[in-house]
Subunit: 197 residues, 2 copies
Amino acid sequence: MTKGSLFIISGPSGTGKGTVCSELVKNDNIFLSISATTRDRRVGEIDGVSYFYLTVQEFEKRIKDDLMLEYASYNGNYYGTPKEAVTKMLSEGKNVILEIDAQGALKVKEKMPEAVLIFIVPPSIKELKKRLLERGRESIEEIEARIQRAKWEFMQCPKYNYVLVNDNLNKCVNDTLEIINTTNEKQALIENLLKDI
Amino acid sequence: MTKGSLFIISGPSGTGKGTVCSELVKNDNIFLSISATTRDRRVGEIDGVSYFYLTVQEFEKRIKDDLMLEYASYNGNYYGTPKEAVTKMLSEGKNVILEIDAQGALKVKEKMPEAVLIFIVPPSIKELKKRLLERGRESIEEIEARIQRAKWEFMQCPKYNYVLVNDNLNKCVNDTLEIINTTNEKQALIENLLKDI
């Protein structure tokens, strides 16, 4: 069986990458990796679906045992990608999506250089501010500060395999599907050539 | 000025990557990096055009001074990519092509993760053997051995940004030009977004 490929989707919040990922997993053979976290479970969240909820002790044991593909700490809580689930799905020939930030993405790319990095950007910073304001979770000052923090992420774009502009959800999803198909075809092509060597 | 991008073209010999590179540099703003070597200059080769010819002592001094982006030794001779020429061209907004093997390509990618790696493959191993035989430089046994050695290179393909099949020179050149344009556009897009942060 052809080995599946690993795709990492990043982008500042408000670019719609979460929605893109939800659409992608409606397709056969595309699966989202579930992150682990030590933060409290919120109302409506399901263990093993939204996140794997771990204690700090459990999380730190997994870091020590090298069971995390990448991890980071935000606001005193750990967030990370459990390695085993990802490698298992890949070995089953599945395409796996990680929705993680640029820092995590570049760490995974170091360990797995064959990972395909996709960065989703908004059509403009003005549009990004508008979307974040409409979401109504943060004040304009908080949004400005968030966008300032996103500057470093934008600067990592040249290290990504693909940069997609999300000005139309359907187009962005289709572009991502095309990247996944192209990657799978490339993999099949190489496997075919290797058979004859 | 928009910073130029670095493109690395690899592929087993007989895939026509040299011809692709010769076609690419006919375009404005695409430049080929000249490698350095300690091997003897052959008839018809020009210093600074075919290669930069260095003594072993000069080459090793440059390794020590970290002036080589990558280097390797084949048949007792050093071959490598001088760093300064590449970074100078990039800072001038030029697109730079390195035509190097997979080992060198992956070393450069480690140092410059924004480098775009393009692997050119033949349509089939049968066709590759045919092309190498027609070139008439090697016996079928030497060709078989060369293809065996190329196996590792093929296996590095998933780490490349793009894999192109060269079954038609014009198409392969145009596909490469499209990759260069897409990369430049992506760079310009991000620079524009960053201006507004």
